[in-house]
């Protein structure tokens, strides 16, 4: 139990751990000495760690601490995209819809449930992104007037691009003549996100110059990163479950890089296309949102304004 408790304490931000880690360990030892229930304390610590990560409380107002948070969030959000990239690039093909009335095997049921979870998590990621973009948009008033138009365009760009890409993909899906538009849509999303992220990374001048902007950016990044990590886990479960069905899973290399991930041959066909088409889109969205929100913050930190950027948070300014 003690070692488990130590691991749980390690979930807290490093600065918080350095400050309160010993106190928490003493607390747990006294709890154990008095034979009080340990599990509620552990659950309380886990929940406390989640709240602490999201609120940023206990993190000192130092540029290095916030830079660390931003980088960690970007890493967490990037990992799923990086891990999935080889599969995505390996190629995709048309999914096979089997006989829906046939009973599913256990692995098939797991895959189906995981697919549903992925759908819900996709929605959660989308909502987190909306909240994040909304917050970033609300901060445009804090940008220097000469950069305001560029910043607003940067905030609006993802929505415009998503609508555009969906339009292109729908056209490509419904009209055989325009099938190539699907690839163009996907390529447009990836390259636009890359360009947008590069723009923010290289342009610290566009970042809102306030401590609140830095904090909000980092919080949004952490939420999006958590959603993305859950989405990735759900997709992984589905992939593993499907792969447990010998002879029914086939990943086919297709040079056009269409957004279909799995081909399931046989009665356990499970709408593999939804997994394939949503995964790259949402991972790209999450990745880019993290880059934009945290890179903006990091750029502001790097730009030498950190001394006046990071005053202590105002009371009740959290969201």
């Amino acid at each position: 139990m003690r070692s488990l408790a130590r691991r749980v304490v390690s979930l807290y931000p490093p600065a918080w751990r350095a400050r309160y880690g010993d106190d928490v360990r003493d607390f747990l030892e006294e709890l154990e000495e008095e034979n009080r229930p340990f599990l509620p304390a552990l659950l309380s610590l886990v929940w406390g760690a989640v709240c602490m990560r999201l609120s940023g409380a206990g993190t000192p107002p130092l540029a290095s601490a916030w830079r660390h948070r931003s980088r960690a969030a970007i890493s967490v959000a990037t990992a799923p995209a990086v891990l999935f990239l080889p599969v995505l690039l390996a190629g995709f093909t048309t999914s096979y819809y089997g006989n829906g009335s046939a009973p599913l095997s256990t692995a098939g049921i797991v895959a189906e449930k995981a697919g549903s979870a992925a759908g819900i998590l996709t929605l959660a990621t989308f909502l987190a992104l909306l909240a994040g973009w909304n917050l970033l948009a609300s901060l445009s008033g804090e940008v220097a007037p000469r950069h305001r138009r560029a910043y607003s365009a940067l905030v609006a760009a993802p929505f415009v691009l998503v609508v555009l890409a969906f339009g292109l993909m729908a056209l490509g899906a419904h009209f055989a003549t325009f099938a190539w538009l699907r690839s163009v849509g996907i390529a447009a999303i990836w390259s636009a996100w890359g360009a947008g992220a590069a723009l923010v990374l290289t342009s610290g001048r566009l970042a809102p110059a306030s401590a609140e902007a830095v904090r909000r950016g980092a919080r949004v990044a952490v939420i999006v990163a958590a959603c993305t990590a859950c989405l990735f886990f759900s997709l992984l479960v589905r992939l593993v479950a499907l792969s447990l069905q010998p002879g029914r899973l086939r990943i086919v290399v297709q040079p056009a890089c269409h957004c279909r991930l799995l081909t399931v041959v046989g009665r356990d066909a499970l709408v593999g296309s939804s997994l394939g088409s949503l995964a790259p889109l949402w991972l790209a969205l999450a990745f880019a949102a993290c880059l934009v929100s945290t890179a903006g913050a990091a750029a502001a930190l790097r730009s030498g304004r950190t001394a006046r950027l990071l005053e202590p948070a105002r009371e009740g300014s959290g969201w």
Partner: protein
């Protein structure tokens, strides 16, 4: 004991109230709160509150006794607690009036 059907009190207020009686370490705060309010706070909640309160300058650590580090209210913490009590007092008075209850003896004299 009958199950509680109403929300628990704000943990921050409970921690401040506990520290109003003198400096305590984390486990001491939890036991004190348990004794006067019947609410058991987990370590995540206790140290989460302490972190937020310390960040706002309402509590501060004092010299450690053995390994354990106690925390005490600062002057700002005392003022914040008094302000909260004033607010609560007004709520209690209004609630008593609307429910047609007489204020308790202690409250009436105060």
């Amino acid at each position: 004991m009958a199950a509680r059907t109403y929300p628990k009190p704000d943990p921050t207020l409970l921690v401040l109230t506990s520290l109003a009686a003198g400096a305590k370490h984390g486990y001491g705060i939890m036991k004190d709160i348990e004794s006067f309010s019947g609410v058991t706070l987990g370590p995540g909640t206790v140290f989460g509150c302490l972190a937020r309160l310390e960040e706002r300058g309402l509590v501060r650590p004092v010299a450690a006794e053995e390994r354990r580090r106690p925390y005490e209210l600062t002057a700002a913490g005392s003022r914040a607690l008094e302000a909260q009590l004033d607010e609560l007092g007004r709520v209690v008075a209004t609630t008593s009036e609307r429910l047609g209850r007489r204020p308790r003896r202690g409250t009436a004299r105060a």
